[in-house]
């Protein structure tokens, strides 16, 4: 091959591009990705919000590291917040107060960082719900769901480690709760807390250690997982909602250059702008009002950051006296059971795509999303999960609920205990019935068309309302969904029926027994003939 460029570029940009390409082969990337198509839908923005909040967190967090001192060495506060002047506190707390009161724009950066962190976890959660309810986790994206799940857990860990850094009264109590929970772990708990805190609680090391996790290890892991997550989005290409012209073999949307770059890039600034607006108008985590950590005082109505709420709520809902002594050792079921419930809940979230894949046995790739109504059992499972989470979350505010609505604390807790069990069951059946009803409505609409409101009197005196058939595009949206039917149990080639087969068949019945099949063209043809004659 000749080294002489066939596309001779002139001008600075042309020459610069040529220089770069001859050294990096970047033109290949532009050719590959420049016109890559991305589908449009508001719900696809949720993941973007998560990504952008992470960028905002990195930017504002880097600023904060220049001023924050991750040390528990005692100092006497000498900053300009008068009520705490002369109070003994850790350097961490003191430097956080200095950022807030003695550094111009410091409070703004702290609040941007904290608001963006709250938004980060919220956006991940909503993005997961979108992926779940539309079935976007199906083949080939099961592994990307797992990666996203890890990001969700990492985001909570990032949030908690960051929340603990200022060493204020609330964060210290949060750490105390972690200490108490880890202590309950059989065999190794005592030693784990001892190693974590560098001795007894609270010790002098924990803030420095959490700082290393918060600004180095965890962000690095988050970044690696985000890169993997996005690589898979490129490899798989984005899913799209079903509609006319959209198939399992194509992607319909706008090219990265220029439209998608403008919209997504602009959206980053909008998200950043909204976070900045919240930070300028709404106070978050006013540590000066709580004071430095002291193991003795705590005020009523303390709340963790929202994403820890479900774990805190689980701790509150367990009934009293659950502790046993066995073989001379302490089994703290009042802490172990909530921890097990939380782990199992998260595990179910983690493995759901693999369970559904096993039940359906469907080996096709799915790039067209399901409308939630067209997967009634999955949607119902999701509704049950959301309800379970919501009850745990509400339980974290049981005292606030009690004082706010003037009801008894015990009443709130007991109600939530019952709701934790009944709520998901009720939510499951309501969601499933609603989905099936909506599917029936879709079916009627696809078959008979919509009601025009035009009443016609027939020659025989009979009144009818004229129905108007949908146009082909609208009808396609109602009839083109993914249909499933339960499996039949038959012996395998060896003439045996295994337990696994039974379970799978039973599960497939649970999923697909109640089934509204899409309208077929034959049915529709018959319907048309009936109404015309």
């Amino acid at each position: 091959m000749s080294t002489v460029a066939t596309n001779q570029q002139s001008g600075f940009i042309g020459k610069a591009s040529n220089y770069l390409d001859e050294r990096t082969s970047i033109s290949g990337a532009v050719k590959e990705f420049g016109r890559k198509i991305f589908p449009d839908h508001w719900s696809f923005l949720l993941g973007e919000v998560a990504l952008y909040s992470f960028v905002i967190i990195l930017l504002s967090g880097s600023f904060l590291t220049f001023f924050f001192q991750a040390s528990m060495s005692p100092v006497e506060y000498a900053g300009s917040y008068v009520p705490l002047k002369g109070v003994e506190m850790s350097a961490a707390m003191s430097s956080t107060l200095d950022i807030s009161f003695d550094l111009r724009g410091g409070l703004l950066m702290r609040q941007i960082h904290h608001w963006a962190a709250l938004l980060f976890v919220a956006a991940i959660g909503l993005h997961m719900l979108r992926v779940f309810f539309t079935g976007a986790f199906r083949k080939p994206r099961e592994l990307n769901w797992s990666i996203g799940f890890v990001l969700f857990v990492l985001a909570m860990a990032e949030g908690f480690t960051g929340y603990s850094l200022p060493d204020d009264l609330l964060s210290g109590n949060g750490l105390r709760i972690i200490d108490g929970m880890v202590n309950a772990v059989p065999v190794v708990g005592t030693w784990i807390t001892f190693l974590l805190f560098g001795g007894e609680f609270p010790g002098n090391d924990i803030v420095g250690r959490l700082y290393t996790l918060h600004i180095l290890l965890l962000p690095a892991i988050v970044l690696i997982f985000i890169v993997m997550h996005l690589m898979f989005v490129i490899i798989h290409k984005h899913t799209q909602y079903p509609g006319p012209g959209k198939t399992e073999d194509n992607v319909v949307g706008f090219p990265i250059l220029p439209v998608y770059a403008a919209k997504a890039g602009g959206f980053f600034f909008i998200v950043f702008g909204i976070v900045a607006l919240m930070a300028s108008l709404v106070t978050i985590n006013p540590i000066w009002a709580y004071g430095p950590y002291d193991p003795s005082p705590v005020s009523a109505g303390t709340q963790p950051d929202w994403y820890i709420g479900f774990a805190d709520g689980a701790l509150r809902l367990i009934p009293p006296h659950l502790e046993t002594v066995w073989l001379g050792y302490v089994w703290s079921w009042n802490i172990l059971i909530p921890m097990i419930i939380l782990v199992v809940f998260l595990l179910v979230v983690f493995i759901y795509p693999f369970v559904e894949a096993w039940v359906t046995g469907d080996k096709r790739e799915h790039h067209l999303l399901d409308r939630p109504r067209n997967a009634p059992t999955r949607t119902a499972i999701g509704a049950a999960g959301v309800t379970f989470y919501a009850v745990l979350w509400a339980a974290a505010s049981s005292d606030i609920i009690a004082t706010h609505f003037k009801v008894t604390m015990e009443g709130v807790i007991n109600t939530l205990q019952i709701l934790l069990i009944l709520g998901p069951i009720i939510a499951f059946s309501i969601a499933k019935r609603t989905c099936l009803a909506l599917q029936k409505k879709d079916r009627t609409m696809a078959l008979h068309g919509f009601e025009t409101g035009r009443i016609v009197r027939m020659p025989g005196g009979e009144y009818i309302e004229v129905h108007q058939q949908l146009d082909v595009y609208d009808r396609w949206k109602l009839v083109s969904f993914n249909d499933n039917a339960p499996l039949m149990l038959r012996p395998n080639t060896k003439g045996k029926i295994t337990g696994g087969m039974r379970l799978r068949v039973r599960m497939s019945h649970w999923f697909f027994e109640e089934r509204i099949a899409p309208v077929s063209s034959v049915e529709h043809q018959l319907e048309l003939e009936n109404t015309h004659h």
């Binding site: 409070l107 190693l195 609270p202 006319p244 012209g245 959206f267 009293p320 595009y473 038959r490």
Partner: protein
């Protein structure tokens, strides 16, 4: 019938249709009488595509917003300079935060809205269609990948030379062990957590003092129904880095009730109190929050973290919430000068449960 590679081939959809393909459908149903895709609907023009005036306006909005963003940035810099922080005026913090923040907000939002509007209203509205390909590699690629592994195995003898392979695996398992040992250094070497958790500062004769002043308390200081937050004598004089560790275990709540209101399970327990004055550990037996809320009417102690309730009248037994054990009681009496002192240390470890608590 649809083939099923993961399970027995005889598990079939109850209402499946023959697709005549090799694709495994599982429960999936593909109907032969399904509708056919009508294809992409006809392209709809935007207002800006048909009305040159609207197009011109959209263009103006986009560049106007970019310039407005500059105003926001400049405003934020001016706010930084002119809304300085005044150590004598807390309100200056609020104004500094507000105006720098609003400037930045304007700067960011204007760029964002301008770019999105540019993309939606000014750029060509040209939808595109990309074709997808199966995620799995082509047959040739997969065959070649397999071949490469086989060649590598052949050339290295990975499967054949099992002694080398097993040696490699064993050494890789062993090599992180020193790292695990190194992490032992996270906690002090010669201290047993088990022992630490079982002992507090309290011992016989140590005065009960107020938190945080450290002033001793006379029995007569406590009126009926009143309560004090208590730390042991000498805690305030500890070096700063030891103070919180000691306080996290030794904090005590002191309450005076009518002696007749207190119910005791034994005469010994009764002797731990003094004329209706009782001292209980303030560290919750659930996960260690301070049980700092005392309800005067009901004589209940409430933990604000997880709402465990303890009944002062009945040896601080748990009456509600997640806690499993009563708050440990500190035996108290008075010394010759009438000051309240500990009659002994706690008779059981305070605070949350831990594995070796009873050993």
């Amino acid at each position: 019938m649809a083939k099923n590679e993961s399970g027995p081939a005889d598990i079939v959809p109850a209402a499946g249709h023959d697709t005549g393909t090799e694709i495994v459908l599982g429960t999936g149903v593909v109907s032969p009488d399904a509708f056919t895709d009508p294809g992409l609907p006809p392209h709809r023009l935007r207002v800006v595509d048909t009305d040159p005036k609207a197009a011109k306006k959209a263009e103006r909005v986009v560049y106007a917003l970019f310039y407005i963003s500059i105003i926001g940035s400049v405003f934020a810099v001016f706010a930084y300079m002119f809304f300085a922080l005044d150590p004598n005026d807390l309100n200056s913090v609020r104004l500094n935060n507000l105006y720098i923040g609003l400037g930045i907000t304007l700067s960011l939002m204007a760029i964002g809205i301008a770019a999105v509007h540019w993309g939606k209203a000014v750029m060509a509205d040209k939808e595109g269609v990309d074709q997808r390909h199966p995620t799995r590699g082509t047959e040739e690629t997969r065959a070649r990948a397999l071949e490469i592994f086989k060649e590598a195995d052949q050339e290295s003898g990975f499967s054949r030379r099992s002694l080398i392979r097993n040696g490699l695996i064993a050494s890789l398992i062993a090599f992180p062990l020193p790292a695990i040992a190194l992490f032992r250094g996270l906690a002090p070497m010669n201290v047993d957590p088990n022992n630490e958790l079982k002992h507090t500062m309290w011992e016989k004769g140590l005065r009960l003092t107020r938190d945080p002043s450290g002033l001793p308390i006379k029995a007569s200081d406590l009126t009926m129904g009143s309560s004090f937050h208590v730390i042991p004598e000498g805690l305030v004089d500890l070096p700063e880095h030891e103070k919180l560790d000691a306080k996290a275990k030794a904090a005590v709540l002191l309450v005076r009730l009518e002696p007749s209101a207190l119910n005791w399970t034994s005469a010994e327990r009764e002797s731990w109190s003094y004329q209706g004055i009782v001292a209980y550990s303030k560290i919750c037996t659930h996960v260690g929050c301070p049980v700092a809320l005392y309800e005067q009417q009901t004589h209940h102690l409430l933990c604000p973290c997880h709402q465990s309730q303890f009944d002062l009248e009945n040896e601080c037994k748990v009456i509600f919430g997640p806690a499993a054990r009563p708050l440990p009681q500190l035996p108290i009496t008075v010394d010759s000068e009438g000051y309240l002192v500990a009659a002994s240390g706690f008779h059981e470890p305070v605070g949350p449960s831990f594995w070796e608590r009873l050993n």
